[in-house]
């Protein structure tokens, strides 16, 4: 007994149907709302709450909620934590997006080539992929960042360079699966060239898992950036959540709040991103729709 899927009864474009599924998924919508709020706070927060996060504005280690001017307290130097939170998201989010973009470009390109052409191309590319996969990613990224002096772009590039292998594997797996399907054979039969088949035929059909993967890659990249700046390898001229935690690490037993709030910010951001990723995954995966 095959349960009828809704596509049998209602013809809808896949994207639209996915959107319909996504909207009905409460955690996914919540994730999107949280992320939008964080992005908005990062972009526009400084309009409403001015202040340089590096300025020493008050006594060190002021408890949150005590001094109305500094609702989240101050850190070990007397810097405003809320100001840091509002400005510290920018490098994290930028790096997250940029690194995910780099990851996707490298990963999809190599994975597509390997999966589509197979043979020695596949073997060679997969060996290279495995090589990059066994590199301890964080260490490798640290080395890259230190060698090429930290800035948002070197950090994003470093993270991209260490995280593309899993995207490449996923893309390859999708290509291997899809290239056997009838419509690819049909495209070949009408004389479509390889380039066209890769771009216009296979890639759109592999889009769903790749979009999900891209979303989750953003989350990983954000964690990466946070880890690097926690270790003191971020851009030193820019406040970031990881840097706030790293800088206040020595004093955690005196004051919990300077590390707790930025950590929560990172956590919330990545959590929102992963809720979105899961929601997209469910929305794209027709089998799950029957639930």
């Amino acid at each position: 007994m095959s349960e009828p899927t809704s596509s049998e009864y209602v013809a809808e474009s896949p994207a639209r149907e996915a959107w319909r599924m996504y909207r009905r998924n409460l955690p996914a919508v919540a994730g999107a709302v949280i992320l939008l709020a964080i992005v908005a706070a990062t972009l526009y927060g400084s309009f409403f709450y001015a202040g340089d996060p590096f300025d020493i504005v008050w006594a060190p280690h002021e408890m949150p909620g005590v001094e109305p001017g500094f609702p989240l307290g101050t850190d070990y130097l007397g810097r405003d934590i809320l100001a840091g939170l509002l400005t510290g998201g920018a490098p994290t989010l930028t790096v997250g997006l940029a690194a995910a973009a780099i990851t996707m470009v490298i990963g999809v390109a190599l994975g597509a080539l390997a999966g589509y052409y197979g043979g020695w191309v596949d073997t060679l590319l997969m060996r290279v992929t495995e090589f990059f996969q066994v590199l301890p990613a964080l260490l490798f990224a640290m080395v890259l960042v230190t060698l090429f002096s930290p800035s948002i772009w070197t950090i994003a590039a470093a993270i991209g360079v260490v995280s593309w292998p899993q995207t490449a594997r996923l893309t390859r797996a999708e290509f291997l699966k899809i290239k056997e399907l009838e419509y690819v054979t049909a495209a070949r039969a009408i004389g479509a060239r390889n380039k066209r088949i890769i771009w216009k035929v296979i890639l759109p059909n592999a889009a769903a898992p790749l979009i999900v993967s891209a979303t989750l890659t953003i989350g990983v990249a954000i964690l990466f950036e946070a880890g690097l700046s926690f270790l003191g390898l971020g851009d030193p001229n820019q406040m970031s959540w990881g840097l706030m935690i790293g800088a206040n690490r020595e004093y955690i037993l005196d004051a919990w709040w300077p590390v707790t709030f930025p950590g929560l910010a990172i956590f919330l951001t990545v959590f929102a991103v992963s809720l979105i990723g899961d929601g997209l995954n469910d929305a794209f995966n027709p089998k799950l729709r029957e639930r």
Partner: protein, 324 residues
């Protein structure tokens, strides 16, 4: 005399996103000792659900036995404790599945899998169980059973695997053997061998067989009695000869017309138009009405019940009113 396996008014429901649908509705069947009951119908008509209900293997949730009774040797199976059901499964009632390719666990040798079935129900040593397993493999016609017992499922062909499944199913001499489309996945030549084997097994072990199939040919070869199912109900039941020669229900006729007959060129192979309706779209009338050439007003208004109109029980208003 009470039957060995008696199903009465069985009702099974499934929770789906269309709400609760009734997969089986007032299904009543009997299997007597030593006989073969054939259950026929298209995919989705409830044959496998019936079998799984007897085995206590309805996936739950979403499935649920909503009413009725299943008695094996007089013992009520519905509501029985899980432990008792486990004790009965594999020993008193065993099942052969449709997919020999996937029904064996890929990480154990076939010998071990048969031996496991034996050890679950009999107090024997592992060595003895394995020797019994080898003997069973020999019995179901597997050459060099000693060696084969140490093979993994993927090393065997589909037909061989189905023989292994049969060996496993009969390992504890079950009183009832349920065979759910045992040959569907196999080559035609192998199908005949498997049916022969089932017949032999039945002779030797005296098991009653409940044969589930959509293949009327298999029914004519194997079954003593037949129950035709459609959309979760039994719509006609009688001896195999009666159903094959004088089908009452238009659906049963359709099924029989689908059997290709050798040497009858005038007899065009027919098909039944349409498909089984989705369960959640069943109305209050006859489920077959939309596909039926003899449909009249009453068919849409009222569900026909399984009643004997002189020949044998059938659920059809047309047959009742003599229109067919």
């Amino acid at each position: 005399m009470s039957a060995l396996l008696e199903i009465e008014d069985l009702r099974v429901t499934f929770r789906t996103r269309y709400g609760e649908v009734t997969a089986l509705d007032s299904v009543s069947l009997q299997v007597n000792a030593g006989e073969t009951l054939g259950i026929v119908g298209e995919s989705g008509c409830g044959k496998s659900i019936t079998a799984l209900s007897v085995m206590g293997l309805i996936p739950s949730p979403p499935g649920k036995i909503a009413g009725g009774s299943i008695r094996l040797n007089g013992e009520e199976l519905i509501g029985v404790s899980p432990a008792r059901m486990r004790a009965l499964r594999g020993s008193d009632v065993a099942m052969i599945f449709q997919e020999p390719m996937t029904s064996l666990n890929p990480v154990f040798t076939v010998g071990d899998q048969i031996a496991e079935a034996i050890m679950l129900h009999q107090k024997v040593s592992p060595d003895q169980a394995f020797r019994d397993a080898v003997a069973l493999l020999d019995r179901v016609g597997i050459p060099s059973p000693d060696r084969r017992a140490r093979d993994y499922p993927h090393q065997l062909s589909g037909g061989m695997r189905q023989r292994v499944m049969i060996a496993m199913a009969v390992s504890c001499r079950p009183k009832v053997l349920i065979a759910d489309e045992p040959t569907t996945a196999l080559d035609v030549t192998v199908q005949a061998q498997i049916f022969d084997l089932l017949n032999e097994i039945q002779r030797d072990f005296g098991a009653a067989i409940m044969l589930i199939t959509h293949d009327m040919g298999a029914i004519s070869e194997m079954a003593d009695r037949v129950a035709v199912m459609y959309a979760g109900r039994v719509i006609e039941t009688a001896t195999a000869d009666d159903v094959l020669d004088l089908p009452q229900h238009p659906y049963a006729r359709g099924l029989i017309d689908c059997i290709p007959t050798l040497g009858r060129a005038d007899h065009a192979l027919k098909e039944i138009p349409g498909v089984v309706p989705p369960l959640h779209l069943l109305g209050k009338g006859c489920a077959f009405a939309d596909r039926c050439a003899y449909k009249f007003d009453r068919c849409d208004a009222e569900k026909p019940l399984l009643t004997d109109h002189g020949r044998h029980p059938v659920a059809c208003h047309g047959a009742e009113e003599g229109r067919i």
